[in-house]
């Protein structure tokens, strides 16, 4: 009869590795989601604040683009992959609400050294509403 000594240990090692590899993969995906959530909320907040203090609609648009790009780049994300949607009241009326929404797609099948498969992905969104400055000087 063949000895079965050590077989349980080998089984446990194989089973442990089978469990741990997907777990570590899942952790990296969750970390990417966390990082993206931090980036989009910071981007939306910064963009809303800067747009609310802008001197015109054009300046507000430039401020939104710049703020979102800085926030995403600062968190190590590609700003060109973000979707930015923002709105302001007609005539950029003082006291009106500026709403900024920043979305970023996080691929959930990103494998180390292999890049990411095209889908599926998780969309992370950040939204901020700010009030246009009541007393800020305007462009003539």
């Amino acid at each position: 009869m063949r000895s079965e000594r050590g077989q349980a240990l080998v089984e446990a090692i194989v089973l442990g590795l089978l469990l741990i590899i997907p777990l570590v993969w899942l952790l990296t995906v969750l970390a990417d989601v966390h990082r993206s959530a931090l980036a989009v909320t910071a981007g939306a907040r910064d963009a809303g604040g800067r747009a609310a203090r802008a001197t015109s609609v054009g300046a507000a648009g430039r401020a939104v683009d710049a703020a979102v790009a800085e926030a995403l780049a600062g968190h190590g994300l590609d700003p060109s992959k973000a979707r930015v949607r923002w709105s302001a009241p007609p005539g950029f009326r003082r006291g009106g609400a500026v709403e900024v929404e920043v979305s970023y797609s996080v691929p959930v099948l990103g494998a180390p050294f292999l890049g990411s498969v095209s889908s599926p992905s998780v969309w992370v969104r950040g939204r901020h509403v700010a009030r246009i400055d009541l007393y800020r000087s305007r462009e003539p």
Partner: protein, 127 residues
């Protein structure tokens, strides 16, 4: 024939210890990834604060350290923060770089260096 009484128990104990070490290693990876995100966020918050509120470089460093301490104080060590401020065409541009070490909170002794840099710009405040 050799007596095998008790060998299954010993094997089970070894196996459980092995799986436990792997699980704690996964927790260690999770802490490291979380702390890296916090450090990146701290650099951005510091740069933004320095631009938005006209704060000094020292205050920007304080913001970064406060974010790190509150969110990941037990994991991030030896944080060194560099702040640069320059003016470009009517805008102030603040760059914040954070160098730190992520401490090991698991079974594998490792100290992972992390280096991030964030830039924020805003209107130059007229005194």
């Amino acid at each position: 024939m050799l007596n095998q009484r008790g060998s299954a128990t010993i094997e089970s104990v070894f196996a459980m210890v092995f799986v436990l070490i792997l699980a704690l290693g996964a927790v260690q990876v999770a802490f490291a990834l979380y702390a890296r995100n916090v450090v990146a966020s701290s650099a951005h918050e510091a740069a933004r604060a320095a631009v938005e509120r006209g704060r000094s470089e020292a205050e920007a460093r304080g913001v970064a350290l406060a974010v790190i301490r509150r969110a990941a104080g037990g994991v991030v060590r030896d944080a060194t923060i560099g702040v640069t401020r320059e003016t470009r065409g009517g805008e102030v541009v603040v760059g914040v770089g954070v160098d730190a070490r992520l401490e090991s909170l698991g079974p594998f002794p490792a100290s992972i260096p992390v280096r991030v840099r964030a830039v924020a710009s805003g209107e130059l405040e007229v005194p």
